[in-house]
Subunit: 178 residues, 4 copies
């Protein structure tokens, strides 16, 4: 999950208020796996952000963030892609609202493959091909495209936090890549 | 959406507090289409509840309700089926967390096919075969099994509120029935 | 199903041979619903072909055809889109091989919603956004884009044959449009 | 793929005829991952067969086989489960015909993760919970239930042939287990 961006959104409330809401309700999220695709639709590369985690470490992450009140899922996907990849990314938002997986993040590790110390989040995960130029925005330090073989042969996935690696693996399984 | 049942859950908070949360965040829900299946897995009948709507009318409805904080989606499905169909329903909770559709309920009609005057809800919809005896519980007055042809040939679907008919139709489309 | 185009493919065999194969095995197919999408990914319009049916009638149809030996599903989708919509259609082949529905066509009506007098076909159905210019090819007389409301309010779907209307409706249900 | 069972089916034709068909057309298949589920629907164990491969080796395999002419996919699933797991297995055939993945088997390795020396097969893959007693039938020597952790921690998946391990992994990913 995108810690700082969420905090930024949280500041639409008083900070204390967002913290209080998070103790009350599961928070709806979207997780987005940005990909480059071949002309036949198959995934060629996966885009991962480099950003500061809440614990002060630099980690690889997918695009992720909250769905706001009165915002549609399509709007949330578009907003978070734009926020993290810039306005020239040209994302292809999926035609169907059906996610390829649902990630349930819990504060306590072990309840699921996904953890988020701040909250219980229910995240709908989508694969989003992006055709345009991506430029990391705000708190993202860098965006790197990893070719699929490179990604699977390296330790990049193992270094992701909160279960983001599981989401990338499920995305590749759904896409018929692994 | 299941108005009274949600109110019941809402009473875990002070009523004012739940109303306030609903102005702040989209509320995660599950919608469940209970079905009877043939030995080959095909849908034979759809179970619809008869219950009092918030406006004092008696309406047909599917099983629906909130996901609580720290509750998994599987737990929420089981709890809502038990709440509405009784403890002997023997639901077959799906093996996958991927919903057949996602229903976005907005307070303002027209933003999507789904409306809920009380809140912005994001609902993951599942088809749940039930094998056991169903007995309507709490505020549900009755449960009726409609064979698919009967359901499609009648006005039952047209009389459902908030877009529940759309969810039933999408369930039948996903199951290859219509 | 695209009668003449399949016959054309069948001519890779002696015509008698294709007829014989069709009495022996189910034939793998792809059905493709071409769509125009909004910037947020939602379906704006559905593209339907006008072509001569085998019975000499002019009918609306989706893009459809056989998967050839040693051909991947992605290649089959691309080939049939190109064959029916031209080389400038710029189709967005889905990232996942998972179809939104599977249509089982039988020669005998009533065994499923799908019929094909020539064969038992098992068709994987995909929604394919096309961004480019479409020009009907070969035996297709015309391609018409129908806006969703227009399509649902007209009799166009009811006039489709073999169950193609059911595939379009399921595509719209899967995409969250109906 | 289930070599001997397919051969058995093939004997509905003259053996030469089946071999000839396989050089002409992709062959429609179903692949079935049998699972034991918890009361909340989550996968507890995966059932793998032990059988003689065509090369004379003993290998672990999932349930797999051809869809016959005029046979529905539901019938094919039921028939193959019964053939391999016995008549008391009580399979829960999925309510939807949508597979969790599509496996394209090619005779030449490298074209996809799936290979089958005999043929180009297009296989629709389903997760099928079985509640009853399973007894290996015909050419299957044994059925073993592997708990998920046990399966992932062992070398069992790596020893599967033709890409069956990939299908099991995709099934577990789709089910939210890995």
């Amino acid at each position: 999950m995108n810690r700082t961006a969420v905090d930024a959104e949280g500041s639409w409330f008083e900070p204390d208020e967002m913290a209080q809401l998070r103790r009350r309700l599961p928070i709806p999220y979207v997780d987005i796996v940005p990909v480059r695709t071949d002309v036949d639709g198959s995934i060629v590369a996966v885009g991962l952000l480099l950003r500061a985690s809440g614990a002060g470490r630099i980690v690889r992450a997918i695009v992720s963030g909250r769905v706001l009140i009165h915002e549609s899922i399509r709007e949330a996907i578009t907003r978070h892609v734009e926020k993290d990849l810039g306005t020239m990314a040209l994302p292809r938002v999926p035609v169907s609202p059906v996610p390829f997986t649902v990630a349930e993040y819990f504060p306590t590790p072990g309840q699921s493959p996904f953890t988020d110390a701040r909250q219980h989040a229910i995240s709908l995960a989508y694969i989003v091909p992006v055709d345009g130029e991506c430029a990391p925005q705000e708190d993202a330090l860098e965006l790197t495209w990893f070719e699929v073989d490179e990604l699977l042969g390296s330790e990049v996935l193992d270094e992701m936090e909160g279960g983001h690696d599981v989401i990338v693996r499920r995305a590749l399984a759904h896409a018929g890549v692994v």
